[in-house]
Symmetry: C2
Subunit: 409 residues, 2 copies
Amino acid sequence: MKAIVISVGDELLTGRTLNTNLKTIAEFLGRYGIEILRDCTVRDNQEEIVKSIKEALKDADVVIVTGGLGITVDDVTREAVAKGAGVKLIFDEKLYKEIEKKMIERGVNITEIHKNYGLVPKGFELIKNDFGLAPGYWGNLNGKILFVLPGPPHELRNVLENAAEKFSNLSPVNILVKTVKTFGLKESDIVEILKDDIKFLTPIGFYPIVPGMVDLKLTLKGEDTEKLQEEMKKKIDILKERLGDAIYGYDGDTLQSVIGKMLREKGLTIATSESCTGGLVANLITDVPGSSDYFKGGVVSYWNEVKHNVLGVSEVILRHFGAVSEPVAIMMAEGVRNLLNTDVGLSTTGIAGPTGGTPEKPVGLVYMGVSIRGNTTVIERIFKGDRLMVKKQAALTVLNLVRLKLEEI
Amino acid sequence: MKAIVISVGDELLTGRTLNTNLKTIAEFLGRYGIEILRDCTVRDNQEEIVKSIKEALKDADVVIVTGGLGITVDDVTREAVAKGAGVKLIFDEKLYKEIEKKMIERGVNITEIHKNYGLVPKGFELIKNDFGLAPGYWGNLNGKILFVLPGPPHELRNVLENAAEKFSNLSPVNILVKTVKTFGLKESDIVEILKDDIKFLTPIGFYPIVPGMVDLKLTLKGEDTEKLQEEMKKKIDILKERLGDAIYGYDGDTLQSVIGKMLREKGLTIATSESCTGGLVANLITDVPGSSDYFKGGVVSYWNEVKHNVLGVSEVILRHFGAVSEPVAIMMAEGVRNLLNTDVGLSTTGIAGPTGGTPEKPVGLVYMGVSIRGNTTVIERIFKGDRLMVKKQAALTVLNLVRLKLEEI
């Protein structure tokens, strides 16, 4: 099955808004094996929308129109859809009453123009929008599907999910998708490692997130769900065998959520001491709901004075080896573990740039340490990229080091 | 002048890659008063690209094609552009030699297929790409401009900038754009405050970033640059008069860069103590190059034990008022200022959610404090949104509080 997406909105063409909806729709349709032929992003102009819908209905089985379902003068999608589909707009009293109730709850000053929310292209079915006022519209035009979605990203995601069953009915086959998440190998390394298995694993997609962090997406299609799951298990077993502990999780997992789960299961607490990452590691850890169960806190020790006074890093060591060094990374990780009385302490110290590099210690050089009870490990890396990329890679690398060390105990 | 953008790449239609290039191009063209009529995102399919180019050349003055300029079998844009423009591809020996040099530096294993980098649509001019191998191509087809750009976002930005003079020559008028950045007012508040000036200020765009953070974009067109600058100054003076200290900066400024500049100018140092923001404030501050000049460090005190043991928050106060309270915010800000011996200390303590809320202290409640020398201020807010949105709003609000307090001294 083929789909065409029509994204409506001046704001997408003036640089005001980044269109994230196309990616959301593509991922969603991928679940049902529906491919997108093209996307047309057009202005809030009725004629242009109508023209795009008519053309799309010729070329695709499914046409998805997003945006422009509000009730200001700019919002012309509802009318354009009716024209494009060759049907009239009719006023749905029941729908309007529901929306009116929502508007009253929100304290909207209701005027005559708000009645436009009740207009529905004739013969179209409504798809619930749990987060906004305008619902989605689903029309079957002689076997071609015309599906209309609100533009705000969280409303669009909700209406898509509410239409999941309809899409599932469209497609005669089941699609099973699993993402295997890896850290520590380059895309080219993984391709090399898997070269003898690639035929068995295909279709497999490689998605590098940052250097050394690659998602592998496995897709299976078929009629028998049980069989698909069996086959998926076999493929994942192969990946586990080949890639070992480079695999840190699946689907929605992040390094910080995986570590969180391990710490909770083992009943351990953690603390961070950061120099070059400047708080990013703590920020990632605390992005996870419930992280206060195992994350006690951390110290950002940007100045040497703070490394010494707060974390207890020796002044002699700082002077002799410099702040960006293995012994300092060790003392920071151990220091914060002692200071906050946790089971695990981690540390980062490096040169994020753009200035501060020397021939011996270039921009991008970072030492990352993990201290678990009596045992401290430090690794050295030279990351490429700008200041923010160095911070990000260092933060992810130290989180991955924590994961590997937690796996050992 | 009207433009049409053609974005090429399977990855944009499978959900693998978010298309950020359209926004970049739209912002760039806005500088020259060129509007985008539509964007077509198409697959790496020669026929479809050719068709899109031909249609676009009918409807627009400028056609911009991005992506698919590599040399794998998927990359068919170069050939499609030639066909769409009705010209041949010719081999440019000089161009190829330059690219060959870059490839050798990068250690590329050069094969026959790499020669494709030397192919240029006949009559097209090259636009330099400082970051990648494939240059941009600029063709004038009987007065219509066909401009071809590489797809990787940083390369695209670079090639666009390298074509700035050409765009400037296209447009008979000069465009002056200035963004005025505000914090603390809702979009609707600003519209109300400016209602008597809106005619004079138009064209003005309102771009809400997060709730309470709004960018105002002023655009002026004309032939006389000096006159434009005078007029812009008048408009900005009106905004300054009406919006006062809600304006925190202009164009590329961020709250953290503005604070950094103020601290450096005043010769002051700062430290952070964070509970609910979990390191985000320190992370934002250290995103600014050179922030080690004034940022000594910080403490993330997620557990009460850390608030007490490290920052010296009184156990009695913690027990009596709870961690999410005004007195704790005060003691955290003052505590970190003392601990790290800085001029300024800031603090956040609140409930980021999704759990942990009570009827008295709901999710989203945050106290934010700033202590400058002997003077400490705390504000209370209830933020809406999910965990990450609460963290973000709290972090930005405390940075803004620091700015306002620094302005007073």
